[in-house]
């Protein structure tokens, strides 16, 4: 656990000493703010529903910017050699890095709370729905980060890692739309179950479904386990 903590702290320092964290934060806040205003003014309804959906897509495109360097950076900087020979187990490396990425993501998410100020000042939003939307957003973000981190461990090239991560995450996001084209109920169910966006929609509507939460956490568990096994195998 000591190792996890040391890796976690190193990751945070590295994030904040590189321009990427600030760039991602800025783009995310600008994008979220734009979508928020656009949705409020075009519909005239004081909710976050549509904004959450837009934030989801924005998150998917920004995830690789947070995760691509996680392992690629260690490979190209030759520091993986150090991590593999220090008294660290592969899962400690994986978990430390993941928690670092999640922390950055939570900071990004918390910063979007600024949009809620005018919403509460001039509107009458449903706090429960907003809270549930945020919980869903955080869970989905955690799943995206775990997937991105896994792909980062597969290649030395950050661009390649990003270029694999984005389509895979977009696939998970849009797979729900293919539901309508499936002939058998089993396939419809499967496509619906795999969809990042359909599970997220439940949260946005204010439905805190444990299956939906479990789905994202299972994705996290699978991605991090694959990540750990890959590091072990690579040795």
């Amino acid at each position: 656990m000591n190792g996890t903590l040391a890796i976690y702290r190193k990751e945070l320092i590295q994030y904040f000493r590189s321009p990427i964290a600030y760039f991602v934060l800025a783009v995310f806040l600008l994008g979220t703010g734009y979508f928020f205003l656009y949705n409020i003014f075009s519909t005239g309804i004081g909710t976050m529903d549509e904004t959450f959906r837009n934030m989801g897509i924005l998150l998917i495109t920004l995830t690789p910017l947070i995760t691509m360097r996680l392992f690629c950076g260690e490979y190209t900087g030759r520091t993986m050699e150090l991590l593999m020979t220090l008294p660290l187990r592969p899962w400690e490396i994986v978990l430390g890095k993941y928690l670092g990425a999640v922390t950055i993501f939570l900071l990004m998410t918390a910063a979007t709370g600024i949009n809620l100020v005018p919403l509460y000042l001039f509107g009458n939003p449903e706090t429960k729905t907003i809270l549930s939307g945020y919980i869903g957003f955080v869970l989905m973000g955690m799943a995206c980060l775990a997937v991105g981190q896994f792909f980062s461990s597969l290649t030395h090239n950050q661009i390649v890692a990003a270029l694999i991560t984005i389509p895979v995450l977009l696939g998970f996001w849009f797979i729900g739309h293919l539901q309508a084209y499936q002939n058998t109920p089993a396939m419809r169910e499967l496509f619906g179950y795999l969809s990042f966006s359909l599970h997220f929609s439940d949260f946005i509507r204010g439905l805190l479904r444990s299956e939906a939460a479990a789905f994202y956490l299972v994705v996290v568990a699978i991605a991090l386990t694959l990540n750990t096994s890959y590091l072990q195998w690579r040795r």
Binding site: G3, A6, R17, R78, T79, M80, L82, L86
Partner: protein, 318 residues
């Protein structure tokens, strides 16, 4: 402290190191010599646990690398060929990270960092970001990292590469001081370095361990370069006949020099008092101008082993 038992590493059909066995004891510095691509770095990586051997067993400080990797890693300091540094971190943050992972407790942290910073002469750069450092400093930050946590075993892959002569001297002192109580395996291209600080030398080429002995032992075992060179005022052929008759001389080649002198190079058996016998023989008939025993340099020994093994490999391939 370090023990390798018939360790091999293959990638697919390519054998990088083949059936290597040797040990490095406590209080011993062993030099690891070999041309580029000989398998030095792979051997180091296998010992450090960066990669697992295809077959064979590695123990570090009594711990099996295959099953007790973590305990072994706690007792091991490793400086890879390219110092593994995080460019955006400053030197202190980097060293603190490594020390934490190595289990240095918070109360001892300050003293431990000061110790390695002093040993590696890093005082001037402790607050500087690593990407701003010169090659020599980067190398020494890498060494400082390896020294953290008081390991029993140091694996150093070309630790003096990129250093200036003064820094090389200082780094050797650090290694020598460590070698008084710990075990060091040191790979290098610089042969004098080996003679200066290593108790024993391992020579590797083509993934095979060719020899392991003390530098002196290796020099004595190398007959080919054991020769006596002399210059005398004599005719070539009679001198050659006379020298061949001397006990202990196994071969003679004679060349004429300007001014009625000849130069003879005698292959001699190691360790015999053959120079005195040669001198006596010549003094009775001719004038002796120079007589000298050629000690084989480690360089010659090294080249002999390496070229022999390369030739053998080619024969095998053919």
């Amino acid at each position: 402290m370090i023990q390798l038992e018939s360790v091999s590493k293959r990638y697919g059909s390519k054998t990088i190191i083949h059936d290597i066995s040797f040990t490095v004891a406590k209080g011993e510095i062993v030099g690891f010599l070999g041309p580029n691509g000989a398998g030095k770095t792979t051997t180091m990586r296998v010992i450090a646990g960066a990669t697992t051997p295809t077959s064979g067993r590695v123990t570090v400080a009594g711990f099996d690398m295959a099953t007790q990797n973590e305990q072994a890693a706690r007792r091991l300091g490793y400086l890879p060929e390219n110092p593994p540094l995080y460019d955006v971190l400053d030197v202190t943050t980097y060293l603190r990270f490594v020390a934490k992972v190595k289990g240095v407790p918070g109360s001892a942290m300050r003293a431990e960092l000061d110790r390695v910073v002093y040993a590696c002469r890093l005082e001037a750069v402790v607050t500087r970001e690593i990407y701003k450092l010169s090659k020599g400093y980067r190398q020494r930050v890498g060494l400082a990292q390896a020294l953290l946590g008081n390991p029993d075993v140091l694996l150093l892959d070309e630790p003096t590469a990129g250093l200036d002569p003064g820094q090389i001297q200082e780094t050797r002192e650090v290694i020598r001081a460590f070698g008084e109580h710990g075990a060091v395996l040191l790979s290098t291209h610089i042969l004098p370095e080996v003679t200066l600080i290593c108790k024993r030398v391992a020579i590797i080429n083509g993934g095979r361990l060719l020899a392991i002995d003390s530098p002196v032992g290796l020099q004595q075992a190398s007959e080919r370069t054991n020769s006596v060179i002399l210059e005398a005022g004599a005719e070539a052929e009679p001198l050659r006949q006379e020298l061949l008759a001397v006990q202990g001389v196994t071969g003679v080649s004679v060349t004429a020099l300007p001014g009625d002198l000849v130069r003879a190079e005698c292959q001699v058996e190691a360790g015999s008092g053959v120079e005195a016998r040669i001198a006596r023989v010549i003094a009775t008939r001719w004038s002796l101008h120079r007589l000298e025993r050629q000690q084989p340099t480690l360089e010659n020994v090294f080249l002999r082993y390496v070229t022999q093994s390369t030739r053998a490999d080619r024969r095998e391939a053919a």
